[in-house]
């Protein structure tokens, strides 16, 4: 298994993570649906996770994978809180469009 993974050059992992991360960033920036935004955040986190796991494997160092677990925990917590907020937003605005949330303007 390790061999298989190592057959793929590390560059590919970097590129894949970068692409995923950038997709996540653009998703957060462009989309207005709060759910999609949250999903994109997830995507960014996981892009990083992928990269950490890949490097950890290549270098034979488990520390990177430990970080991955931390991030997954944080991501789970974030998703829970984020979705909780989202539910409340929806109850108040009957919408999940974040562009409506500009009460602090001016």
């Amino acid at each position: 298994m390790l061999e298989i993974i190592r057959q793929i050059p590390i560059d590919y992992y970097v590129w894949l993570s970068t692409v995923l991360f950038v997709i996540g960033v653009f998703g957060v920036l462009i989309r207005r649906n709060a759910i999609v935004v949250l999903m994109c955040v997830e995507l960014m986190l996981n892009a990083v996770n992928l990269l950490l796991a890949a490097f950890s494997t290549y270098l034979g160092d488990a520390q990177g994978q430990i970080m991955v677990f931390f991030i997954m925990v944080v991501a789970a917590a974030e998703a829970a809180v984020g979705l909780g907020i989202l539910v409340m937003i929806y109850r108040n605005t009957k919408s999940t469009d974040i562009s409506l949330l500009d009460k602090l303007r001016n």
Binding site: V25, L29, I30, I98, S99, L101, D102, R105, N106
Partner: protein, 628 residues
């Protein structure tokens, strides 16, 4: 005795503090007693000082070190020598009489307590001026006197013209003070000290360049010009009539204007080094003397006439100083203090009796209603005109003798002309005011009364002094005593100057001026005693008379040449520099920040995507700068 000397100036100061702080709640009598009592106490102490000085010479008292900066050491100290003790006697003596007089004169004024507080402060400042043992103390008193004159001239400040007159006096004095201050700076630079004794002790060994002494003397004289109302800085003094009459008496007779004379008499060793400066002093004095006397001929305000006569007499004193006759100038200061205080207070009594009227054209025949005032006014007028054996006769005659001996016939002739003009306008005023028919309203005639005794007693004392004051310094050729008493008295400070004339010439000169004065006194009775020669209303004046009555338009010329350009300039500065320039910058910075803020505020539109874009853009930028 030495320990009592500081009390002399500080007693009036204590009076000022008591009257100034608590006077409002005290009874008028108490205010008057404190005000005059402190000055009387100072006078008594001054008399004691006088005897002490006569016995054992000058007294130096250093209270404490005022301040020390590098080599400049200023002591808060007093120098009581023959010159200053004499001034102290004049200031406190005449000052006391004026205080007593004020009790009666100001009795119905709401600002009674304030008036006495200011008067006491005035005496305090003047005493510091004459008693200080260095130039800075003198300057301190000098400024204090300026301040008090401002406060007192503008005493009835609700009248705008009076307030402006006060301001004028203050500003005019400042111009002169600049000269004095520069002179003091130069003295310090040259001598490294401001102490009178030290400066004048070092003087003989200094070998000053000719120009330096002249410059210092002229600068000091510019200060004296302002304070003693000489051309071109004299215009404030006639305007100073805005103050209550006792103030005029105080300013004109005992204090303030004599400060300039005192300054030059004090610095006589310095002046003696510079014939040019003395020539300058004498010239300015002579021009002022004649100029003011001519203006005085056609004034119809009883106080204005006296004001111009003061300017003229001061001019005469400066002539004496310029001729090197310092002691004679001091003598004339003394006699002038007597009769000018007398005349002003008598004029005040007239104004009091007339219910505030000051125009002599509306008076006339006051002789019967106010006999005491009339007699003392008569004495004052005769004294100032140089009637034989009265005080003015002796002091003026001595000055004329010196002008003849040291300046020549032309100087003598011109200064004698000034004295004759003095006789003319003073007699004109006397006869117009006290003789003939009463020309005021019925109401004024009914109201007309002699003044209370607080006013007439000081008048009587001053009249006595005006009668006898001349015998302080009888001319030596009278041979009543071997030496002229006063010249001898001052000889500790001022070297005795002998008139270099033979007795016959002196007698001739004296007889000429005196007989002229007497002729004028008699002649003007016949001229102004008649109704047809009464001064006419302002609108009927023509030609030269109108020009003189309007004081040669000097005020208007100053107004045009100096005041208005400055006002215009300050308007320009106000509008362009202040409002547009400085305010523009300050306001511009303010509005600029606001506008910039308004632009930045647009970024904060509450739209989370924008924030995120900003954040991402920032991170990308950061990465680019790090990695590229």
């Amino acid at each position: 005795m030495d320990s009592l000397i500081p009390l002399i100036p500080f007693l009036p100061f204590i009076g000022f503090i008591i009257n100034g702080l608590f006077g409002k709640k005290m009874s008028k009598n108490a205010v008057g007693i404190i005000g005059s009592g402190t000055v009387l106490a100072s006078f008594v102490l001054s008399v004691l000082c006088f005897y002490q000085v006569a016995e054992s010479g000058a007294i130096q008292v250093n209270l404490y070190n005022f301040f020390t900066v590098d080599s400049l050491q200023i002591d808060f100290g007093f120098l009581v020598d023959h010159l200053s003790v004499w001034m102290m006697l004049i200031v406190t003596g005449i000052g006391f009489l004026i205080h007593v007089y004020s009790i009666g004169y100001m009795h119905d004024d709401d600002g009674f307590w304030k008036f006495f507080a200011y008067l006491n402060l005035f005496i305090f400042s003047m005493l510091l001026l004459v008693m200080g043992n260095n130039f800075l103390m003198l300057f301190f008193g000098w400024e204090g006197v300026g301040l008090c004159s401002y406060l007192l001239i503008g005493f009835w400040y609700t009248n705008k013209a009076y307030g402006l007159a006060a301001r004028k006096a203050f500003i005019m004095n400042r111009i002169g003070d600049l000269g004095l201050l520069l002179g003091i700076f130069m003295i310090f630079q040259l001598f490294g000290s401001l102490n009178f004794t030290e400066v004048f002790e070092r003087l003989p060994t200094m070998r000053l360049e000719a120009g330096v002494a002249t410059t210092i003397c002229v600068l000091l004289f510019i200060g004296a010009m302002g304070k003693s109302a000489q051309l071109p800085l004299y215009t404030w003094l006639p305007d100073a009539m805005a103050g209550p009459t006792p103030v005029s008496a105080l300013i004109h007779a005992a204090t303030m204007v004599t400060a300039g004379i005192y300054l030059i008499a004090r610095c006589n060793p310095l002046y003696s080094l510079s014939p040019e400066a003395m020539q300058f002093v004498a010239s300015v004095g002579l021009i002022t003397c004649l100029f003011a006397a001519v203006i005085g001929l056609r004034q119809n305000d009883i106080k204005k006439v006296l004001a111009y006569s003061t300017v003229s007499q001061l001019g005469l004193m400066f002539v004496a100083l310029g001729m090197g006759a310092y002691a004679s100038a001091m003598f004339h200061v003394t006699t002038h203090a007597f009769f000018k205080a007398l005349l002003f207070l008598a004029a005040g009594s007239v104004i009091h009796g007339m219910g505030g009227e000051q125009d002599i054209r509306k008076m006339g025949g006051l002789r019967k209603a106010m006999p005491i005032t009339f007699w003392v006014f008569l004495i004052g007028t005769f004294a100032i005109s140089g009637f034989p054996l009265l005080s003015g006769f002796f002091s003026k005659d001595e000055i004329f003798a010196f002008t003849y001996a040291n300046g020549g016939p032309l100087w003598w002739g011109l200064s004698a002309l000034g004295a004759i003009l003095t006789a003319v306008y003073m007699c004109r005023m006397l006869y117009v005011t006290f003789f003939g028919e009463f020309r005021g309203t019925k109401e004024q005639e009914h109201h007309l009364h002699e003044s209370p005794s607080t006013m007439t007693v000081p008048l009587a004392i001053l009249a006595g002094l005006s009668l006898a004051g001349g015998f302080l310094n009888t001319p030596h050729f009278f041979h009543l005593n071997n030496e002229q008493w006063m010249a001898h008295w001052f000889s500790w400070v001022i070297p005795i100057q002998e008139v270099q004339l033979d007795a016959a010439t002196e007698w001739t000169l004296m007889i000429i001026t005196t007989s002229l004065a007497v002729i004028i006194i008699i002649l003007s009775y016949f001229i102004y005693g008649k109704k047809s020669n009464l001064p006419v209303a302002d609108s009927e004046q023509t030609g030269l008379i109108r020009v003189i009555a309007n004081k040669f338009y000097v005020d208007e010329i100053y107004d045009f040449l100096i005041v208005r350009p400055i006002e215009k300039m300050s308007k320009i500065f106000h509008y362009y520099v202040d409002l547009q320039g400085i305010d523009g910058i300050v306001n511009g910075v303010g509005t600029g920040v606001q506008k910039l803020g308004a632009q930045f505020r647009k970024l904060q539109n509450g739209n989370i995507e924008y924030y995120l874009i900003g954040m991402v853009a920032g991170v990308v930028l950061l990465l680019l700068t790090v990695f590229l």
